[in-house]
């Protein structure tokens, strides 16, 4: 039976999740790069979104959510051939078509998150090839393991909206690609500052709003679970923003806008796996943890690991998603949380296995995909193109024609 209220909310949530990539993430990333590369980031977001959509139609959805093998689904829903007008998605009261689209919006944003690692120096051919292969080889299997009835679902892993499926996969893969691609030629000391912090803030704001669809939509219904996910999501974001701001104020003497909104995204990534499972107090605590840990992680990647993960995909998204996934069993014990199906340490063990295995698979598979791209289309633009900026060199356009 289709429920019109549930359906109304999940269609709306789907719109909010697409908004997260187009234009929210694009603006968030686009403002952080140099003016000469702004358009390349926007076109990468657009292209990745479209490649992921077509692959999702072709076989991605089917391999993730059709069939119940432990490792991968089947091809019964390839080309979405069996999606009828009226049948509800099993276990929900929304049409299968709406479920396909809602999940498609997740399949869009996850490879798009990785863009932050390789901006300002990658070949556009490599973006297309890596994103396509990555969706099929990393995202689709992991979505099946966790959400599609695969081996991690069988073990009872909890990942409400994608701390593991979205943020751990994207964060780990981002670091691998950034390391294999090499740093931008000015890294670390000659890098130019974000060309438009105001644009970063607009992107972060729309991500925040869109995240309501991402997390509260993951309830797949319009009721108490969605409501609590909504509340937890918002409180984690607000808290993490204030904490990141406080850390910067203490450490650097000034609270910055870019720092504040980075805290927002860290908080949102961190609450994602836990959002439908925990209550308000847990969300606030997770917000504090998110900024404290992710702030440190960002500095570590830049200064110690010295990989040019340009826009901090691992430090913000990967680490945020991982700590949320690991802490959630404990946080359900606070008010407003769900009742765990097993002892808290047993659940923690499942979460830890999931984070580690998914992280490892993301790293290994991304390594192979990136190697393949390097052998075929090549990874990097030449130094002159990089210096002149990708906008004109790769796309024939100029970001700003402000003075006539």
């Amino acid at each position: 039976m289709i429920n019109s209220g549930d359906t109304a909310w999940i269609i709306s949530a789907t719109a909010l999740v697409l908004l997260m990539t187009l234009p929210a993430l694009a603006l968030f990333y686009g403002g952080l790069v140099q003016a000469k590369n702004i358009l390349s980031v926007l076109v990468q977001c657009f292209a990745v979104a479209c490649v992921a959509s077509v692959l999702w139609f072709a076989c991605g959805y089917s391999l993730a959510f059709s069939g119940s093998g432990p490792w991968i689904g089947d091809l019964n829903a390839a080309l979405l051939a069996n999606v009828t007008r009226s049948a509800p998605h099993p276990g929900t009261a929304i049409p299968e078509s709406v479920y396909v689209m809602f999940e498609m919006a997740f399949a869009i944003i996850t490879p798009a998150l990785i863009i932050g690692a390789y901006v300002e120096r990658i070949k556009f051919e490599a973006v297309l090839l890596i994103s396509a292969l990555w969706l099929l080889i990393v995202y689709v299997p992991v979505a099946h393991w966790v959400w599609g009835g695969g081996w991690l679902a069988a073990r009872g892993v909890m990942d409400f909206a994608g701390g593991i499926v979205v943020h751990v996969t994207a964060g780990v893969s981002a670091l691998v690609i950034a390391a294999m691609l090499g740093a931008r030629h000015e890294f670390p000391h000659g890098i130019r500052p974000p060309h438009a912090p105001w644009m970063v803030m607009v992107g972060a704001s729309l991500l925040w709003v869109g995240w309501f669809g991402f997390n509260a939509g993951s309830a797949l219904s319009a009721g108490g679970d969605a409501g609590m996910a909504l509340l937890a999501t918002h409180l984690a974001a607000a808290t993490a923003t204030l904490v990141w701001m406080a850390i910067e104020w203490i450490k650097f003497g000034k609270p910055s806008l870019v720092g504040a909104v980075t805290g927002t995204i860290a908080g949102l990534a961190c609450i994602t796996p836990a959002s439908g499972y925990v209550g308000p107090l847990a969300a606030v605590l997770l917000g504090v943890t998110a900024s404290a840990v992710c702030f440190t992680a960002v500095l570590l990647v830049k200064r110690v690991v010295q990989v040019d993960d340009a826009l901090d995909v691992l430090g913000v998204h990967g680490v945020g998603g991982a700590i949320g996934s690991l802490l959630l069993p404990f946080l359900t014990l606070l008010g407003g949380g769900v009742t765990l199906a097993r002892p808290v340490m047993a659940q923690f063990a499942v979460q830890a296995i999931a984070v580690m295995v998914v992280g490892a698979w993301s790293a290994v598979a991304t390594f192979a995909i990136t190697k393949l791209a390097a052998w075929t289309v090549g990874l990097r633009v030449d130094l002159e193109t990089e210096t002149q900026g990708l906008d004109f060199a790769a796309h024939g356009e100029t970001g700003y024609h402000v003075n006539r």
Binding site: I191, P197, F252, G259, L299
Partner: protein, 112 residues
């Protein structure tokens, strides 16, 4: 005739213009430039990474004046732009051979 070129702090532009109109200098050209001098730029921190901003925003003024007015103009610019801190700027004076007003075709001091 002389061409006076001054590099000043952007936020002193209004004060300089007021001083110049106060001595009846009515024509000047303003360019947004970036400068690098004893004032060594500043550091901006984004997500813990320090960015050296070597060149700071400055305003370049260009004013063509008859020979007899050079001292007045230099004094007016100085009065309007001096804050006493590093970065206040510089004033240069160049020989100007000819000047022409496009609309009327007037030349020399009459064109200024």
């Amino acid at each position: 005739m002389k061409l006076i070129i001054a590099i000043i702090q952007p936020h002193r532009l209004d004060a300089v213009r007021e001083h110049l109109t106060g001595i009846d200098i009515a024509g000047l050209t303003v360019t947004e430039v970036r400068g690098y001098g004893r004032q060594k730029g500043h550091t901006e921190i984004y997500r813990g990474a320090e960015y050296q901003i070597a060149f700071l925003p400055k305003i370049k003024l260009e004013i063509a004046v008859p020979d007899g007015r050079v001292d007045d103009v230099v004094q007016a610019i100085t009065a309007g732009s001096r804050t006493g801190k590093i970065g206040d700027g510089k004033i240069f004076v160049l020989e100007l051979e000819q000047a022409l007003r496009v609309r009327t075709g007037e030349t020399g001091d009459n064109a200024l």
